[in-house]
């Protein structure tokens, strides 16, 4: 209808952008579906399929090789009658409590110290997180040497003049489990610090201004105001550290080898040992499945909150 105004960009039809035809075109959504196939396969087969497979094995009397002769929950009965398993589970509780507690307490304290506005913050942060870049094997070997009762810390402190100093936990069956916590905290405290620090940095600076105007001492602000505000960070840290504890395998192998005897054994090592070395596949699978149930019990609130957050976020 309206006469087109003289148009700088006016062109004849053959110079227009070719508009692709709409009928047979490949839709990008289909590509997205195809691109998901590898990850989907891994998730379905290698995660969930294999969990079911392991569960099935745990119901059989498999030893060296899987045999599918079902014996009901016999392997679980054997497992719960196994003294080494109970030692490992007890150790998991002790180690979990000390390790998670230590990481949370020291990690939070370090984060607060750094958050007080220090010079060379970057340097301190780098140092605190340095052990994190090393493997559990490396950590275990280092601490094995440091805690070596013959030539390690005990001897070195005695040489400084404290002749009665004793630190031989690594060779004492009643103490060796504590050495795991020491090495573990040393390695992971930096991660906790980083997470707490990120949380502290997210706190509205006006809270600090308000508390200064009100004349509240700094330690009280941390205790009564900041810490409650950080509860989701505490929750995250707790979950992450729990996951590490329950998978803990490398560190025991390198630091104590589960010993002396089985005094510092952990369930993850129990499982691997029975599957790979002891030809007790069924028992190992049962142990693995119990371990998985423990993990799920601890992790599920976290997953629930993650997904809920996700859903809440989409509402806007």
């Amino acid at each position: 209808m309206a006469e087109p105004a003289p148009d700088v960009l006016q062109r004849s039809d053959d110079q227009k952008i070719p508009i692709k035809s709409g009928k047979k075109r490949w839709r990008p959504q289909w590509s997205a579906g195809v691109a998901l196939i590898p990850a989907m396969t891994i998730t379905i087969v290698c995660f969930y399929g294999f969990i079911i497979w392991t569960f099935i094995i745990s119901l059989t009397r498999s030893r060296l090789l899987p045999v599918y002769k079902f014996t009901g929950f016999d392997q679980y009965v054997r497992l719960f009658a196994n003294e080494r398993w109970w030692t490992a589970m007890q150790n998991l509780a002790i180690h979990g409590f000390l390790f998670i507690g230590g990481c949370v307490v020291f990690g939070y304290l370090l984060a607060i110290l750094i958050d007080r506005g220090v010079k060379a913050e970057g340097m301190f942060r780098t140092l605190f997180m340095l052990p994190l870049s090393m493997s559990f094997i490396v950590t275990g070997v280092i601490w094995q040497w440091v805690m070596n009762p013959g030539l390690g810390l005990q001897e070195a402190v005695r040489a400084l003049g404290w002749a009665s100093f004793e630190f031989n936990w690594i060779v004492r069956p009643d103490r060796s489990i504590y050495t795991l916590a020491i090495a573990g905290i040393w390695q992971q405290v930096g991660l906790c610090m980083a997470l707490f620090l990120a949380g502290l940095r997210n706190i509205d600076p006006n809270i600090w201004k308000a508390s200064r105007v009100d004349g509240i001492p700094v330690w009280r602000v941390y205790l009564h105001i900041i810490t409650p505000m950080m509860r989701t960070v505490f929750f995250t840290v707790f979950i992450l550290m729990s996951a590490i504890v329950m998978k803990a395998f490398d560190l025991v192998v390198a630091l104590t080898g589960g010993g002396p005897g089985f005094s510092s054994d952990l369930p993850a090592r129990f499982v691997v040992d029975h599957i790979l070395n002891r030809q007790e596949l069924g028992l190992g699978a049962a142990g693995a499945f119990v371990l998985l149930c423990t993990v799920i019990a601890v992790i599920s609130p976290y997953i629930y909150f993650e997904l809920k957050k996700e859903r809440g976020g989409r509402g806007h």
Partner: protein, 359 residues
């Protein structure tokens, strides 16, 4: 026909209908503004025209071609976004040329077109910069350039000026208007800003809660709002509304609020039939005229805005805003007489809010 045609377009999310039977005709070369408060569905409508959201029912034609089932790049459209949506990792040159590259155009042709558009928009010196190195106004130009270079049948603008500051917004408005006059292309433009709608549009469509309230020229939308919603949404300060009845005393018409009678002057003849019927009077601030012979109103507050001042008045049991020149002084508590311009006022049905006066 050329232009855009929406027929019975319906949109539902998860079974809940948010838009029902939208019918719109946008003629070739029109500058159509979709105006409404946030959440009225104007952006959804634009996204459906663009093909970014599927329609639940109905069909969309662009230049006589049914595009309802087509992907956005098959529809012969281009879009400019509120956030500009420039590709942050590409230079301005690549940003503008990206659509052509995706369409498989040979490189030298792309170069040439980008150059032309850059000259038209006077952004040639910026071609090798990254979007993060540009000011808001410059980014806006690049975003427009990216749309222009596609030479589409229809340009879609999604609140393109909302992120700019007031001064720049006014400048860009003028530039957009010039650009439209120069290119003569069809534009569909979404905004919640009535000034943009008034200044830019050849046709305004006012939307509320998923339905078209009025589709008309900007002048008519302002002068003859189709219902109370349009009347209150368009115009700042907002229109005054009072409930009451029309009464006639001799030659003089009044609007009786029950607590006082507002005198009306130059009332159109069609209002005669409505005498005695309860309704809502709508009068814009400029429709209140100071007249010593009028009803006595008490000054509550005067707000000078610079060129004008708006005077808040308590009159006939209601509060109304009147416009005045900046010179006159109003003392709070003082009394002043007013009459209402019956030729320009609006009358609305008390029940459904529809306008009662025509033309």
């Amino acid at each position: 026909m050329n232009g855009v045609e929406l027929r019975d377009v319906t949109k539902a999310y998860a079974g809940i209908t948010v838009m029902e039977n939208i019918n719109l005709e946008i003629s070739d070369g029109d500058f159509l503004v979709l105006l409404g408060p946030s959440g009225c569905g104007k952006s959804t409508l634009l996204n459906m025209i663009a093909g970014l959201e599927p329609v639940t029912g109905g069909s969309i034609d662009i230049n006589g071609r049914d595009v309802t089932a087509l992907e956005p790049d098959e529809r012969d459209i281009a879009m400019v976004f509120q956030s500009y949506a420039l590709y942050p990792t590409m230079s301005v040159r690549k940003n503008i040329g990206f659509g052509l590259k995706m369409a498989g155009m040979p490189k030298p042709d792309i170069e040439e077109r980008v150059k032309e558009v850059a000259e038209l928009l006077q952004i040639t010196p910026l071609l090798d910069r990254k979007p993060s190195q540009l000011s808001g106004g410059q980014q806006q130009r690049v975003a427009i350039g990216r749309a222009l270079v596609r030479e589409p049948a229809v340009f879609l603008f999604d609140e393109p000026l909302s992120n700019l500051d007031a001064k720049l917004r006014a400048d860009m408005r003028i530039e957009l208007k010039r650009l439209h006059e120069r290119l003569g292309r069809t534009i569909v433009y979404v905004t919640h800003d009535q000034i943009e709608a008034m200044t830019l549009a050849t046709k305004v469509v006012v939307l509320d809660r998923g339905s078209v309230q009025q589709a008309d020229t900007p002048e008519n939308v302002y002068r003859r709002p189709a219902n109370r919603f349009v009347a209150s949404f368009v115009g700042a300060p907002t229109m005054n509304f009072v409930d009451g009845t029309l009464v006639r005393e001799g030659d003089q018409m009044f609007f009786d609020t029950g607590k006082g009678k507002l005198p009306l002057v130059d009332v159109p003849a069609q209002a005669n039939e409505m005498v005695g019927r309860p309704m809502t009077l709508g009068a814009r601030p400029e429709h209140l005229m100071f007249d010593d012979a009028g009803i006595s109103a008490r000054v509550v507050l005067a707000e000078p805005t610079g060129p004008d001042q708006y005077v808040r008045l308590a009159v006939a049991g209601a509060e109304m805003t009147a416009r005045s020149g900046p010179e006159q002084a109003f003392k709070p508590g003082a009394d002043i007489g007013i009459v209402i311009d019956g030729a320009r006022m609006s009358l609305f049905d008390l029940e459904n809010g529809q306008a009662l006066l025509e033309g």
